[in-house]
Amino acid sequence: MKRHLTVAALAATTLASLALPAQAQDSVYVPLLTYRTGPFAGSGVHIANGMRDYLEMLNQRDGGIGGAKITIEECETGYDTKKGVECYESMKGKNPVVVNPYSTGITLQLIPKAAVDKIPVLSMAYGLSASADGGNFPWVFNPPATYWDGASVFVKHVAAVEGGLEKLKGKTLGLMHLDAPFGKEPIPVLEALAKKYGFTLKLYPVPAAQMQNQGSQWLAIRRDRVDWIYNQGWGAMNPTAVKEAVKAGFPIDKLVGVWWAGGDDDARAGEAAAKGYKTLNFHNTGNSFPVMQDILKHVFDKNLSQAKREQVGENLYNRGVYNSMLIAEAVRTAQKITGKKAVTGEDVRRGFEALNITDARLKEMGMEGFANSVKLACNDHNGHNKVFVSQWDGSKYVKASDWMDPMKEIVRPLIEQEAKDYVAKDAGWPKRTAPCEKGA
C-alpha cells in the first residue's frame, strides 16, 4: 500500500509540476529511464531506487540543486530498446537536462538523436566506449571509465597478485562474456594486452538465451587450465557464473567481474563458497558515508523511497546514488558557468565538459572514501578515472585493492580510432560546433 501511495504521490507531483508552468521557472527536469520489470529487474530495481533517492534527498535537504528544484520522473523501459525510445520520445518535449538510458541498446539509439534534440546523454560506464571522444560525440558522456579501461585494470590486478606484469607471460586469462555487443566490448583491449605481455587469451561466450546454463563453458575452462577469468556479464548470467565456478572448483578469488557483475545478489547465489568473488568498482559500498545517512534521514524517515532500508549501501543501490551524483554535479557546474538556476540541456552539456569533482568537493558532499575524483574535458568525455577491485566477504562487498589507473596509453588510441570509424560510417554525422570551455 505504501508503495502504491508513493507511486500515486509521485505521479501527482509530476502532474502538478506539468500543470503549473510558472513553477517550472526554477526547476530542472531529470527523467530517469529505469527498469523495474522484465528479465533484468533484479538489478534494475536497486539502481532505480538509488538514482531516485539521491535526487529526492537533494530536494528534501537542499531544496534541489543550487535553488532549482529537481523534477524527477521515472519511465519504465523493462531494459527493452523499443520501450526505452518511447520513453525518450515522450519526455523530450519537457526540456530534460540530461537523459540516462541505463541500457547499452537504448544508448546506441539515443547517440545519433542527442545532437539533433540537444539533450546530453549520460551513459555511466556503459554504452559505446568510443563515445568517450568528445570531439566526435559532443553530446554523449560515459564517465568514470569505459569497459576497455575495466579490462585493462583487470590485467593490472592479475599482475599485482601474480607479482608483476612480467609474470603474466605464459599465464592463461579467460574472458567469459555475454554473446552480445556489450559482452564483446573488452576483446580488442585484452587482445592487445595479450600480445604485449605474452599471456594467452581464451574466450568463453555465453549466448543470451543460455545465460543460466554455463556447464559447457566451465568444462572448457577446466580443460584449458585457465588461471584467471574476467566476467563481462549481466543479469542472470552473473549468479550462474559464480555458482558454476564454485561447482567446477575454480578458485573464486580468481574470478573477477566487470562492475555490472557486482550485484549483491550475484555473489549471494554462490552461498558460502562465493566468499572471495571479485568485481571491479568505482564507488564504495556500505551506508556509513554521510551522504547515505542523509538519504536515510531525509528520504527513508519520510517514507519517500520504494527501497527497503537495509538495501541502502548495497553495491547496485550505491551505483544509482553515484549516477545521480554525476547528474547533480553536472547541473551544478552548468549553473556556475551560466549563472542561471533553471539550466537547459545545452547548459548541462557544457556542465559535463567542465565537470571536475575534486576530493574536497567529495568531502563536502559527504562522499569521502565513497568515490574518487572525476574530471572530464572537452575531448575526453570519460576521464578514464581510477577503479578498484572489491571482494565479496560472504555478506557484502569490501574494497580489496587500491584505486588503480586504467592503462590509458593503450585504451585512448583505440577509442579515438573507433570513434573515427563510427563517424566515417555515418554520412550525415554532424561536426562538432560547440566551443570548448575555457580552462577545460
Binding site: 507511486v7 523499443k82 566506449s129 552480445a180 549466448p207
Partner: protein
C-alpha cells in the same frame, strides 16, 4: 442501413471482382487514407507520430507477412523476427555498399534476400505440418539470430555490433538518419505500407491467394485439384518473408534508426507478431492492421495516456498491467472469437447493414 448495397449495380466482371465492391467501403478507405496522409502529419504531435503511428505501420507490415503464411496458407511460422532481421541487415549492407542508390529501392530490394532465405527454411513444410513445422521455423529463428551476432561482416565489423543508419535523402529531404523528421519518415513509411497492402490484396484475391487458401483448407484436396504443393508452399514462405524483410528494413531505417539489430529481431519479436495476427484475425488483411493497432497502442495508452489525463498509474504498474491484459486478450480471443478482431468488424458490418430491422 449504413451498409446497404441496394441500388449498386455491377455491369462488368471486373467491377464484381473488385476488392471493395461496395461504395461505402470505397468511401471509408478514401477517408482513412486522407486521415493517414494529410490529417495525421498536419495535426499529430511528434510523440504520436514517432511512437504510435510509425511502430503501428511497421508492425502491420510484419503482421501482413506472417498472415500470408500462417493465416492464408495455414503454415505456422515462428521465424518472423529473424526474417525481419534478414531484411534489415540486407538493407544495411546494400546501402553501405551502394550508397548512391535511393534507400527506398534498397528497402524494397532487401525483401528479396529475406524471401530467398524464407523459401529455404520453408522447404521442410512439404513434409511436416503443425507443431513440427513450428519447430523447424524456430530453428530458422535461432540460426539467423546467431548469425546476426556472430557474422561481423553483417554489421560492417563495428566494435559495438550495432548497425548505424546513415543519412539518406529523397529529393534532397533526409528520410533516414537522425536529421529526418518523424513526419517525413512517417510519410515514406505510409507510402510503402499502402503500396505493399495494395499488392498483397491483389495477390491474395487472385489465383495465387486462392491456391494458398486451398492448401490451407485441405492440402490433399488441393493436390487432387492440380495444385502443386511444393511451389505453392514455397511461394507462401517467400512472399511472407518478403513482407517481413521489408518490415524489418523499415523498422531499422525509418523507425529505430540503427542500434542493436540482433536484439530487435529476437524470438520475442516473432511471438509478438504472431499474437498480432491471432488477435487481429488469421487470414484477413484488415486483421493485420487491427491486431498491430491493439497490441501496439494499448501499452502506450496504459503507460502514457492514463497519466496524461490525470489517472495516476506508475510506469512499472502499467507494464505489469500490460502483460496481464495481452495474455488475457489472447485467451479471450482464442475462446470467444478465434477469427479475431477482423471477424468482429465483419459482424459489425452485417449489423450495420440490417439496422434498424435485423432479421
Amino acid at each position: 442501413m449504413f451498409y446497404r448495397e441496394a441500388g449498386q449495380f455491377k455491369k462488368t466482371y471486373a467491377a464484381d471482382m473488385a476488392v471493395f465492391p461496395i461504395l461505402q467501403d470505397r468511401i471509408g478507405i478514401a477517408v482513412i487514407l486522407i486521415v493517414a496522409a494529410v490529417v495525421i502529419p498536419l495535426t499529430g504531435s511528434t510523440f504520436f507520430i514517432s511512437s504510435v503511428m510509425i511502430p503501428f505501420l511497421v508492425f502491420s507490415l510484419a503482421a501482413m507477412g506472417l498472415n500470408i503464411v500462417t493465416g492464408y496458407t495455414g503454415l505456422i511460422s515462428l521465424g518472423t523476427g529473424a526474417f525481419m532481421g534478414v531484411g534489415a541487415f540486407a538493407c544495411y549492407k546494400l546501402t553501405t555498399i551502394f550508397p548512391n542508390v535511393n534507400i527506398i529501392i534498397w528497402i524494397l530490394a532487401s525483401g528479396i534476400f529475406s524471401a530467398a532465405i524464407g523459401a529455404a527454411f520453408g522447404l521442410p513444410s512439404l513434409r511436416i505440418k503443425g507443431f513440427y513445422l513450428a519447430v523447424a521455423t524456430l530453428a530458422a529463428q535461432f540460426f539467423l539470430e546467431w548469425c546476426f551476432v556472430r557474422v561481423p561482416w553483417l554489421y560492417n565489423y563495428s566494435a559495438s555490433g550495432a548497425i548505424q543508419v546513415p543519412q539518406r535523402t529523397l529529393f534532397d529531404v533526409a528520410i533516414t538518419g537522425a536529421n529526418a523528421t518523424p513526419t517525413t519518415r512517417y510519410l515514406v513509411l505510409l507510402g510503402i505500407v499502402v503500396l505493399m497492402t495494395w499488392v498483397a490484396s491483389n495477390i491474395l484475391h487472385g489465383r495465387i491467394g486462392r491456391t494458398f487458401m486451398a492448401v490451407r483448407d485441405m492440402d490433399i484436396a488441393a493436390e487432387l485439384m492440380g495444385i502443386r504443393l511444393l511451389p505453392a508452399k514455397l511461394m507462401a514462405f517467400a512472399l511472407s518473408s518478403f513482407y517481413c524483410g521489408v518490415a524489418g528494413a523499415v523498422m531499422m531505417f525509418l523507425w529505430y534508426g540503427g542500434g542493436e539489430a540482433a536484439d530487435a529481431f529476437n524470438i520475442r519479436q516473432s511471438f509478438n507478431i504472431l499474437f498480432m495476427v491471432i488477435i487481429g484475425g488469421l487470414g484477413s488483411l484488415i486483421g493485420c492492421f487491427l491486431g498491430a493497432a491493439l497490441l501496439n497502442i494499448v501499452p502506450i495508452i496504459l503507460k502514457f495516456g492514463f497519466p496524461a489525463i490525470g489517472i495516476a498509474i506508475g510506469s512499472e504498474t502499467a507494464e505489469h498491467l500490460n502483460h496481464l491484459l495481452v495474455g488475457g486478450l489472447i485467451i479471450f480471443f482464442l475462446i470467444v472469437e478465434p477469427h479475431g478482431l477482423a471477424r468482429l468488424w465483419q459482424i459489425t458490418k452485417q449489423k450495420l447493414r440490417t439496422w434498424p430491422f435485423p432479421y
